[in-house]
């Protein structure tokens, strides 16, 4: 399926490679709420398109890291560059899936209305979405399997359907770099599979997707890159090399209940080819 308009191929890759700006460059980022640091000196660089999982215990600053990268919370120090530019100048290339709880689902809008909001960025001031935008939004709804529900008020959806609505809105943005805050939270197994398939599809199109994630058992299966966060960045890199018991211990501390699952998760990774 042709998911998105083709991204222009870079001609003469050899000579450009040396000067190619990283997709994402987070440098020395520190964020504090009421003088208490929630992120401390985080460095993260992505040079190749990937599916990056961000894991860590509650209060580790995972959502804050995403919001800091998007310019939604002020940085105490450090900088974020996207495709070598400031975040503000690259907004058209960024897609966002916020946490489901961040909006009022009783708001009087339909599923199609919400997905159309993904096209507002390219529409610009005062222009209303027309037939072209509606057709594109319906295509996005097709991809998440919600086409039949386009007229529903969003409060009448199940949790998984609400999550997929947000995902369709992000796809409608036609971005190159996606930030997703717990897209798998509170969805059933079938929906989780559908969402994952979509993320893989995005990566195959050369896009990069950052995902805040909770379920450690699925980490090695879902993500090729991984960042372990607990206020500081504990480790980041290929999932194969950083998803180790030692790193997990450093990230989650001595919580035994968690560590039990960790052992299983690492074992599972060893078993997967």
């Amino acid at each position: 399926m042709n998911l998105m308009h083709p991204t222009p191929a870079t001609p003469d890759l050899g000579s450009k490679l040396a000067v190619k700006a990283p997709i994402l460059d987070v440098h020395d980022v520190t964020v504090a709420y009421h003088r208490k640091p929630v992120l401390w000196d985080v460095d993260l660089t992505l040079t190749e398109p990937c599916l990056l999982g961000i894991i860590g215990p509650n209060g580790a600053g995972k959502s804050t890291l995403i919001k800091a990268m998007l310019g939604l919370v002020p940085l105490v120090s450090g900088s974020v560059r996207i495709f070598g530019q400031s975040v503000a100048s690259e907004r058209k290339r960024i897609g966002y899936v916020p946490q489901r709880e961040s909006v009022d689902w009783d708001f009087p809008v339909s599923v199609l209305d919400v997905v159309l909001m993904g096209t507002y960025g390219s529409l610009g001031w005062f222009r209303r979405p027309g037939a072209g935008e509606k057709a594109w939004a319906r295509q996005c709804l097709d991809m998440v399997g919600l086409r039949d529900l386009e007229g529903r008020q969003i409060g009448q959806l199940s949790g998984g359907q609400q999550q997929r609505t947000f995902l369709a809105r992000a796809i409608a943005q036609q971005a190159d770099l996606y930030f997703m805050d717990e897209p798998f939270a509170g969805v059933d197994a079938a929906t989780e599979g559908a969402i994952l398939a979509l993320l893989v599809q995005l990566r195959e199109q050369g896009k990069t997707v950052l995902v805040v994630h909770h379920d450690l058992r699925t980490v090695p299966v879902y993500f090729d890159q991984l960042a372990l966060l607990n206020v500081r960045l504990i480790a980041a890199g290929a999932t194969r090399s950083v998803f180790t018991e030692e790193n997990l211990r450093k990230t989650y501390g001595g919580r035994l209940a968690v560590l039990d699952t960790l052992g299983q998760a690492v074992e599972a990774q060893v078993r997967t080819p």
Partner: protein, 302 residues
Amino acid sequence: MSEWLTYNSLIVLQGVTLLGACSGVIGCFAVLRRRSLVGDALAHSSLPGVCLAFLLVGEKHFWAMLLGAFLAGLIGLGIMAALKRWTRIKEDASIAIILSTFFGAGVVLRSLIQQMPLSGRSGLDSFIFGQTAGMIEEDVHLITALSAGTLAIVALCYKEFKLVAFDPEFAQVQGWPARLLDFALMLLLLGAVVIGLPAVGILLMAAMLIIPAAAARFWTRRLAWMLLISAGIGMASGIVGTYLSATQGVATGPCIILVAAGLFLLSLGFAPKRGVIAQQLARRRDRFRLETPLGAGEEPAP
């Protein structure tokens, strides 16, 4: 009825119709952004501004009093924002503080004015309970123009306001000046309050914003329809309320609000799907359905 329909009363009707539409539309955004109480605080905090304008200009100058109300409301807004930014006082507490402090100051100023040998003091009282009877044509033209301007801005920025009201963070990620748009909505709310004060009054203006919007929500699940229905309820309340006030010799504000409240009760009871009666019927239907085994499907949203 025919003797009531003079040229002047037709002008007044035109004014309250547009102001009803204006507060109905702006009220929707206030209710959806959970700012109903902010509207109440803005209305109450306008009283000292109205009184000071009266003192400065000396006699009743309609536009000066509206300007005074606007500036006082703006100062109230600024203090609420500062309390939120610099202290740990919660929003509901800061709203209560601003509302009562400003209104108290306004009542004191009003008492002082009443001890002075000034003319036109009754114009001041019409701001408190709302009175269209004393309005002259220029006053109404000002209200009409400001209401029409507010409606035009909402029509122009409908897409932007909808996005910011629903998901301000997403709007910001997309590059919209979300804070600025939100502030614009706040200014329009203040504007709608000020426009409505002379006819509806300080005490009841918040109701004029909240009741039509809350009633409209019963009839529809789409924002555009909610705005239109709320505007319609605001208009109908304005027209019928003004008529009742003029013919029965009662203050205008309470008449308008009582008509709006009646329309709210109708909506609450009889609106399809979301009304109380429709919901009860649906519940009764569901009770029968529950006796048959549930089909496979996703669990409903919490």
